[in-house]
């Protein structure tokens, strides 16, 4: 098959999968098999494109012109293939986990859930392989719309409110800021194609570039840059696999991916550096990542804390895009990958705790490490990766961004990153400490107050007898992703090699 076919298939496979899921809705086992098969097939399909891109190829799939200047077309470049691989790979893992979680919690409307998930993946792949801003925007909006039912999944007042905020902010920012940014870019550059080296160099003044960048930075609400981050904590009402989708697989990743892509292929690293137009964004991103960490400290709800942690970590990526030196850009790209694996692990853990014990607050987690040792062990590893300690993947991306900051002579950025790491330790490690080193609360007679059906935690006895892990379909995926964080520590060269490709400007 030609590479172009693989691009088409990347969007077609999940779409067809969604249809098949609808058709097999009467038979849950078959339906889940369809999800898994689709996910697997999608990953294999995307993987076929990797060697082509590594060899320097840029497979294209030409589409059609909608109206002058607006074209639907696809092209695979290093950043896109990276995002595509992350999304499609984590979908497999997430699907296993979803099955365990959705069944373990007896969630309603499961078919709707799997269908929306598949459509979200199709649009994520569309975003990854877009050849121009319009195509990206098109799939960006489809992604918003297809994830809306997922966020509103529970259907109660809280879920509706969360979903409403989710939709309002994401759709609202895209309409009010993203569309003007598109029109303006088209007016200045005469094209919206992603071009190595950017399309605005020599056409836009420093001020124009700065304003345009602001429209993009706030228009891409999915990047959750403060102050448009509110949707992310509010979306925590959704089931955990959805949170994983939002935080790791597709949604926020699509946001920062777009920012990075705009920075590299629309503005161009050289143009940003020459005009200094992105300097303000460096400050804002730094503020965002520090402030979100501080807020995370104050949250007792585990998922809320993780949500603010995500806002903070996304700040790193935006920061990298704003610094715009080659090392910072590579670090930002790498951080998309590293954060994805780290954060999905942490969310899987939160969901597993919820499934097994119905606990949601950190203060309830005393001694839970004895009950769920595998789960909490994975949390520890994931947390270390988010903090950025070796030997875990997160160490590299943060290092690259810091080095990039030095290149750009933003010394305060280096300091801020250090402070942030300390803050990360401060909000993630207490969870681990509570789980492993505190005794279970004496008054805790059941796993979760509302559900008194579980046995009390025994103080003694063999490991096996006091263990009460979540369903294995939940535990295995999270251990797997934790392990992957470890593997990724040994792969920075390969990733850097891949991402170098996005900075090559044909002379």
């Amino acid at each position: 098959m030609e590479p172009a076919d693989h691009i088409l298939l990347a969007m077609l496979i999940p779409t067809v999968g969604a249809l098949l899921i609808v058709l097999t809705r009467r038979n849950p086992n078959l339906r889940e098999a369809v999800t898994l098969a689709t996910a697997g097939l999608l990953f294999v399909n995307v993987l076929q494109l990797l060697p082509v891109v590594l060899a320097g190829g840029r497979p294209e799939l030409s589409g059609f012109e909608v109206t002058p200047g607006l074209e639907v077309a696809f092209q695979v470049e290093p950043l896109g293939i990276l995002f595509g691989l992350i999304a499609s790979f984590l979908w497999i893992v997430n699907s296993f986990y979803s099955i365990g979680y959705m069944r373990g919690n007896k969630e309603p409307r499961q078919t709707q859930f799997y269908v929306a998930f598949a459509v979200a993946l199709a649009s994520a792949l569309g975003i990854a392989f877009s050849a121009n801003l319009f195509t990206l925007f098109l799939f960006y909006e489809i992604l918003t719309l297809s994830t809306y039912p997922l966020v509103a999944h529970h259907g109660d007042a809280k879920a509706r409110r969360g979903a409403r905020i989710y939709l309002m902010i994401l759709l609202g920012t895209s309409i009010v800021f993203f569309i003007p940014a598109l029109v303006w870019t088209l007016a200045i550059a005469g094209t919206l194609d992603f071009t190595p080296g950017g399309i605005l160099a020599g056409k836009a003044s420093g001020l124009t570039t700065g304003l345009l960048l602001a429209l993009f930075a706030f228009g891409i609400g999915k990047a959750a840059l403060m102050p448009v981050h509110k949707w992310l904590p509010n979306a925590m009402v959704a089931p955990t696999p959805v949170s994983a989708l939002l935080h790791a697989v597709a949604v926020v990743k699509a946001g920062v991916f777009t920012i990075l892509k705009v920075s590299v292929y629309i503005f161009g690293s050289d143009h940003l550096l020459a005009t200094g137009a992105s300097e303000w964004l460096v400050y804002l991103a730094t503020f965002s990542l520090l402030a979100a960490s501080v807020i995370a400290l104050t949250k007792d709800n585990l998922k809320a804390r993780l949500a603010y942690s995500t806002v903070s970590q996304l700040g790193y990526i935006v920061l990298g895009a704003a610094i715009a030196t080659p090392l910072a850009l590579i670090g930002a790209g790498m951080h998309i990958l590293m954060h994805a694996f780290g954060k999905i692990t942490l969310f899987f853990v939160a969901g597993a705790i919820h499934t097994a014990t119905h606990k949601t607050e950190i203060s309830q987690l005393n001694g839970i490490g004895r009950v769920m040792p595998f789960t909490m062990g994975a949390f520890f590893i994931g947390a270390l990766s988010i903090i950025g300690l070796p030997p875990l993947g997160g160490a590299w991306s943060k290092l690259y961004i810091a080095l990039g900051g030095m290149d750009g002579e933003y010394w305060f950025v280096v300091a801020a990153l250090m402070i942030s790491s300390v803050l990360n330790v401060a909000y993630l490690m207490p969870v681990v400490v509570r789980a492993f080193f505190r005794p279970p609360d004496p008054d805790d007679h059941g796993h979760g107050d509302a559900h008194g059906d579980a046995a009390p935690v025994p103080e003694t006895g063999s490991l096996r007898s006091r263990m009460k892990e979540a369903p294995w379909l939940c535990v295995v995926p999270l251990m797997f992703t934790a392990f992957a964080c470890f593997i990724l520590f040994f792969a920075p060269d390969a990733i850097e090699g891949l991402l170098q490709g996005m900075l090559e400007v044909p002379r």
Binding site: F137, A152, I175, V176, P180, W184
Partner: protein, 493 residues
């Protein structure tokens, strides 16, 4: 041979079919006649479109009397575009009309309903195709009278007062138009639009011509429901039968917009009135106010049909905004939105007709939970609602894109911001429906409703699919609109 008489056939087919419906007095036969007549009219419009594309402007002397003494039917790109929209929407709605009409009216009333439908269509096509000013007035009244009747046939008694209110305001509007035409005739001695266009520049500073301009402006604005002359529209759309609402929303205001374009660009175009009077500024302000005021009111409606009626006022504001730029980009956007909005709104009212058919209510509270009960209907409403918001991938995005481009051409950034903020308000009311329909427990009324019958769904889905299709392939919508816009502008320079 037949092709030579297409301009006449365009109007004569539905005109003759109307009394035929009434004579047979059988609902089913009336419906068959209506289907045949509307589809033939649509075919005639398509035929005219290709003739215009191949041969340029067609001038047809009605009854063989040569213009300017006789009545001329003059078909150029501008009105053939509107003819296609009107007859197209008209022919999609008719198959839909059968189920609901048959369930509610006896045989005779059904036949009369189709007769009225055909007369309304005749009038609208006539207004569009004719090149004679007084003929415009006559056709306008034919379509208006027929639509008053169609509105009064709604199931709510408020339909009667809505029809009455529309009759008063509509007649005042039409009379204003005819006063304007009369003044122009008194000054120039001709009623032929092309002749008028030639003679007006010589007398463009005389008071009667200015008075004519004023009367026509008010009259046409009443007909197209430009804020603040829109008061008749919400009730009329809300209480009329679904077929009427869909038909009027898709065609009547669109034809009024065509009239607006025809008079201001073609007839008055050479007079330099866009420079000498504050017309563009006035329309710009009113359009923006319409977009915000009507959208905001829409958010607070509890009756979904009324909500979308207000939404129509807002969308008309968007169209007149495009017109007020007096630029090719702006006109392209306006004409494209005329096309797209006709499809979107007709589709929405048809789907709501399905809801009405099953539940006998379109109140928001009653629609709770119907997302699960009527999945296709609601999915259609969501898609069309997204198009109203202007989501990419739907036709609504394309028209908004062009209108935003036009604002940008004039460096009016604040206007870009306003257009997009208005889209946000649209999002609010569409979002309200989505939330109620999908994430609430079914209401008492919705508890045991079924999906709308296929005979209603399929025609509506033709429009839903068209909305997506024209969001991705715009060579017919934007392509034609752009050429028509260039022709319109040629009238003023």
């Amino acid at each position: 041979m037949l092709a030579q008489h297409l301009p006449a056939l365009q109007v004569v087919i539905p005109l003759l079919a109307a009394p035929l419906c009434a004579l047979f007095r059988r609902g089913f036969i009336g419906w068959l006649i209506a289907v045949a007549a509307t589809w033939l009219a649509f075919a005639a419009a398509i035929g005219l479109l290709f003739r215009v594309l191949n041969e340029g402007v067609i001038s047809y002397a009605m009854g063989g009397w040569a213009p300017p003494i006789g009545i001329e039917y003059r078909v150029d790109l501008i009105n053939v575009f509107v003819l296609v929209v009107v007859s197209g929407v008209g022919s999609v709605i008719i198959p839909f009309a059968r189920t609901g009409t048959a369930a509610r009216f006896n045989d005779t009333d059904q036949a009369w309903f189709y007769a009225m439908y055909l007369l309304a269509l005749t009038g609208l096509l006539g207004v569009t195709i004719t090149g004679d000013a007084f003929n415009i007035f006559v056709f306008l009244e034919i379509s208006s009278l027929a639509s008053y009747v169609m509105i009064a046939m709604g199931r709510d008694r408020r339909a009667l007062t809505a029809a009455y209110q529309y009759l008063i305001m509509g007649t005042v509007g039409a009379t204003f138009i005819v006063i304007g035409i009369g003044l122009l005739w008194a000054m120039t001695g001709t009623l032929n639009l092309a002749d008028l266009a030639q003679r007006i520049p010589e007398i463009n500073d005389t008071r009667p011509v200015l008075a004519a301009l004023a009367f026509l402006t008010v009259g046409i604005s009443l007909k197209l429901a430009l804020f603040p002359l829109h008061l008749w529209l919400p009730n009329a759309y809300a209480y009329a039968p679904a077929v009427t609402s869909a038909f009027l929303a898709g065609t009547a205001t669109k034809v009024a917009i065509y009239l607006f374009l025809r008079f201001f660009y073609t007839v008055f175009g050479g007079g330099g009135f866009f420079e000498s009077t504050p017309l563009p500024e006035m329309f710009l302000v009113l359009s923006v106010v319409a977009m915000f005021a009507a959208s905001t009111v829409a958010v607070f409606q509890d009756d979904v049909k009324r909500m979308f009626a207000y939404s129509s006022v807002a969308q008309i504001g968007l169209i007149t905004l495009g017109i007020s730029y007096v630029s090719e980009t702006g006109l392209t956007g306006a004409m494209t939105h005329l096309f797209n909005h006709a499809i979107i709104k007709a589709g929405i009212f048809m789907l709501l007709g399905g809801v009405m058919f099953r539940m006998a209510s379109v109140k928001l509270e009653d629609m709770a939970g119907i997302g699960r009960k009527m999945p296709f209907t609601m999915a259609g409403i969501v898609i069309l609602g997204l198009a109203l918001i202007g989501t990419p991938g739907t036709s609504g995005f394309i028209s908004k894109w062009w209108i935003v481009l036009a604002a940008l051409e004039k460096d009016q950034w604040w206007l870009v911001a306003l257009i997009l903020l208005a889209s946000l308000i649209t999002m609010l009311y569409v979002g309200r429906i989505v939330e109620v329909a999908y994430f609430r427990e079914p209401s008492a009324k919705a508890a045991d409703v079924r999906e709308a019958p296929l005979a209603m769904l399929i025609p509506a889905y033709v429009l839903v699919i068209a909305t997506i299709y024209f969001g991705l392939d715009t060579q017919w919508s934007v392509g034609l609109a752009q050429r028509a816009a260039a022709d319109l502008l040629a009238g003023i320079y």
